[in-house]
C-alpha cells in the first residue's frame, strides 16, 4: 500500500488588507505565506489578503531603422 499523498504547498507574498492579523501581521503589512493552494484561495476569497504582484517590466523601446531608398526619400 502506498503512502497517502499530502497536498503540495506554495509560497507567495501578500499584503494584509483585512481586519484580522494574518500570521501575526496586521492590516497594511506584508506577509509571506506557505500554504496549500486551496487554503490560500479561501484566505484571498475572505478578503484578508491580496497578492503582491511583481513590478511590471517595461519593454525596451523598439528601434526604428530608417533606410534610404536612393530617390531622396527615406523609408521607415
Amino acid at each position: 500500500m502506498g503512502a497517502r499523498r499530502l497536498p503540495e504547498t506554495v509560497t507567495k507574498r501578500f499584503k494584509v488588507i483585512g481586519k484580522h492579523k494574518i500570521a501575526g501581521v496586521a492590516k497594511g503589512g506584508e506577509v509571506t505565506l506557505t500554504m496549500t493552494p486551496g487554503s490560500m484561495n479561501c484566505l484571498i476569497e475572505s478578503g484578508a489578503i491580496e497578492e503582491i504582484s511583481a513590478p511590471a517590466v517595461t519593454p525596451p523601446p523598439v528601434k526604428t531603422v530608417k533606410k534610404e531608398t536612393g530617390n531622396g526619400s527615406i523609408r521607415s
Binding site: R4, P7, I17, G18, K19, H20, K21, I22, A23, G24, L33, M35, T36, G38, S39, N41, C42, L43, E45, S46, G47, A48
Partner: protein, 138 residues
Amino acid sequence: MARFVLKNCFVEINMSDISDHCSSAEIDLSKDDIDITNFGGAGREHAAGLQDNSIVLNLQQDFDASSIDSIFFPLWDQETEFTVTIRPTSDVVAADNPEFTATCILLEYKPLSGDVGSLSEVSVTCMVQRDTFTRATS
C-alpha cells in the same frame, strides 16, 4: 503548578488570528476504543485505535469582509483543509504555553444562529484530519 485562568487564548484559523472573536475553545483528543478482550481474564481489555480528534470553537459572528463568516464559509464551501493553531495565551510558544496545531476540515457550519436580542454566536467543530495534531513547546 500554578492554576490557570483563560484570558487571552490565541486562536488562529487558516492563518487568520480570530482570538478577538472567540469566546471559548476546546480541544477534544480521543482514540477509538478497540476491545481486545479474550478468555485470558475476567475483565475487558482495551487498546487504542485510530485518533479521532476535533477542535470546537465558539465564535462571535461577524459578517464584515475578511471576518468570521468570510473566513469560514469558503472553508466549508470549498471543502478545503486548513490549519488551526491554539495557544493558552498569546505569548510565544514555550513549555508553559504549548501550541496545539492541526490540519482540519469543516463539515458543518451554521452562519446564523440566535434569538432576538441576543449576541449572534456560531459554534464550529473543526475535524482533525489524519494524524496532523501536534503539541509544540518551542
